[in-house]
Amino acid sequence: MALNPKILANKPIGYRLSVLWLGVCAVFSIFGELFPLPAWDYSNPDVLGVGMFSPGHIFGTDYIGVDQLSAIIHGTRYSLGIAFVTVFFGMVIGGFLGILAAYRRGWVDAVISMYFNTTLSIPTLIMVVTMVAIFASPDPFNPSTTIPRVFVVIIAITFVLIPVLGRLARSSALSWTGREFVLVAKSMGMKPRSILWQHIVPNVLPAMLSVGFLAAGVVIIVEGGLALLGAGAEPGASWGSLLARNRGDISLIPHTTFIPVFFISITVMVLNYFGDYFRNQIDGRESRI
């Protein structure tokens, strides 16, 4: 859909660039293996710490000879994958809880809101670090669990996203349950379940979707932060953990740190752009209703 030139023709330049960037990222994460590059974790002793635009290594290599372009391409799958999966589950679970709370009110609302407010009073990153520690068992004397780190990171971030997205879904659903058409539907004897599915959910969904883009950006930042604290995905696997691993060499081969920083920043910018863009679209639509 996004590649249809007619659809893009009347869009602002920022929109087209953002689609282009996400398209490149999508190609990286889906067809990453097909690129004629050394493996993302293959350390070649012949090329240690070469700079950018060296022959055969556009992004250079780090001090163990890992090709940075290959590492970035591999990291795209991890970083975007983590963002996509966590936001998806966060939206499904958080959206369900939020809409349920807004529609049922009473004690259901009280319990769910209390859960949201409680988790939101704990700083995000602290919560995620604790969750990672609980699920990953980094205790060297008791290595009982062996779940891959990525899944640990995904579970931990999802836990934190649920209340954030849930609270938004709740307030958005609340603003719709009072509208006239819902009252009309109620007075015509429509079942609560079908009111929910036909009137509330379709109206909450676009707002959630635009917030979903912003949330995906936040997840990429949080993942980078986790990695910098040593609690991220496997070393070098995602953009964040690549950045964290190369950070120590910043004074000698700064490009290995700043390439992942660049990719993280641009991707977050693009995701924020889409979030803003769709929110403006929705605001325009709602003011016409």
């Binding site: 409680t118 700083p123 602290i126 604790t130 205790d139 008791n142 930042i221 910098l228 604290l229 700064p254």
Partner: protein
């Protein structure tokens, strides 16, 4: 009377949230794999580890353990920071002693960051709203949008490299207290404060711009302008105050999240603030330190929000009329 009821309701709600937060943290802490006994006495015998657990009350059930902690916490005893080879009775470090080192750093950085961000974002936001939809507005607004998307660790790493490593203007790591030298102190906080502020300046300015533009459409602005008041007077006196609500809310929320959320910046610049203390405590399974620190952070976060709620009507007279908005 009605106001009293509303206040009591709000406060009991807050108390309930605080209760659940602290209990949740206790639960999470107890769920952490491994425990303080294995972390402090990794090579101790099973009896030694069991003895430490008994001293810490870890063999009791979680409710007894939680209420023990809560009673001590409410009496101002935040608990003990354990070091290897010490018993509960003669532990030399208290959590409070650790926090009294770290809290001033974090608080100062936070206040500097907030002050710095407001100092720059308010004039920028006003200028942009005043010049809305001109070329200047478009260029600056888009730049701000870009800046607000850059994660603060990216800014931090960039500054650390350019200022700290490449040009060697400032020492990229370490924190100097005010007492040790005011100039050195300011030098040591410049880069962390800059990295935390850049995104905030952009966010705040954008918020203020949007709010001012919508306030400018209000009737009382037309009224003021038809009275012949100067633009400058209208902007500062009539428009800025009611437009600063989102800005203020955002500032308070950020103040709360900065307390524990500046961990990454603390890590990059080796500041050893509250956030870093908390992360190390999690790694070392310092149960009491985690519980007490998170409780303090949650309290201050909630208190900031309450203060802002209380100040809202003072700033925007329109809120006084409709209750509870």
């Amino acid at each position: 009377m009605q106001k009293l009821i509303r206040t009591t309701q709000r406060l009991s709600q807050v108390a309930l949230v605080l209760f659940f937060v602290t209990f949740l943290v206790t639960l999470l802490v107890r769920l952490l794999p491994g425990d303080i006994a294995t972390s402090l006495l990794p090579f101790g015998t099973a009896e030694e580890q069991a003895q430490l657990r008994t001293e810490l009350g870890l063999d009791t059930n979680i409710f007894v353990y939680y209420f023990d902690w809560l009673r001590n916490f409410l009496q101002g005893d935040l608990g003990v920071y354990y070091n290897a080879g010490e018993s509960y009775a003669d532990a030399s470090m208290t959590v409070w002693a650790m926090l009294s080192l770290t809290i001033p750093r974090t608080l100062l950085i936070m206040v500097y960051t907030l002050g710095f961000s407001l100092l720059f974002s308010i004039p920028i936001g006003m200028l942009l709203a005043y010049k809305a939809d001109t070329r200047i507005d478009k260029v600056i607004s888009n730049t701000l949008f870009g800046l607000s998307s850059i994660p603060n660790f990216a800014v931090g790493l960039g500054l650390a490299y350019i200022i700290g490593v490449k040009f060697e203007l400032l020492n990229p790591i370490g924190y100097v207290t005010w007492g040790e030298g005011s100039v050195e102190h300011i030098k040591s906080v410049i880069m962390p404060v800059l990295s935390l502020s850049l995104g905030l300046i952009a966010t705040f300015a954008r918020l203020l711009r949007a709010d001012i533009i919508s306030t400018l459409k209000e009737d009382f602005v037309t009224m003021a302008s038809s009275k012949g008041l100067s633009n400058r007077w209208i902007l500062w006196r009539h428009v800025f105050r009611p437009s600063s609500l989102s800005l203020l809310t955002a500032a308070a929320l950020n103040m709360g999240s900065l307390i524990g959320g500046a961990v990454i910046i603390e890590a990059i610049f080796a500041l050893n603030g509250v956030g870093m203390f908390l992360v190390t405590s999690i790694a070392l399974r310092q149960y009491l330190a985690i519980q007490s620190t998170v409780a303090l952070i949650a309290i201050s976060y909630i208190v900031f929000n309450l203060i802002v709620d209380a100040f809202m009507p003072k700033i925007d007279p329109r809120i006084r009329s409709h209750h509870g908005a």
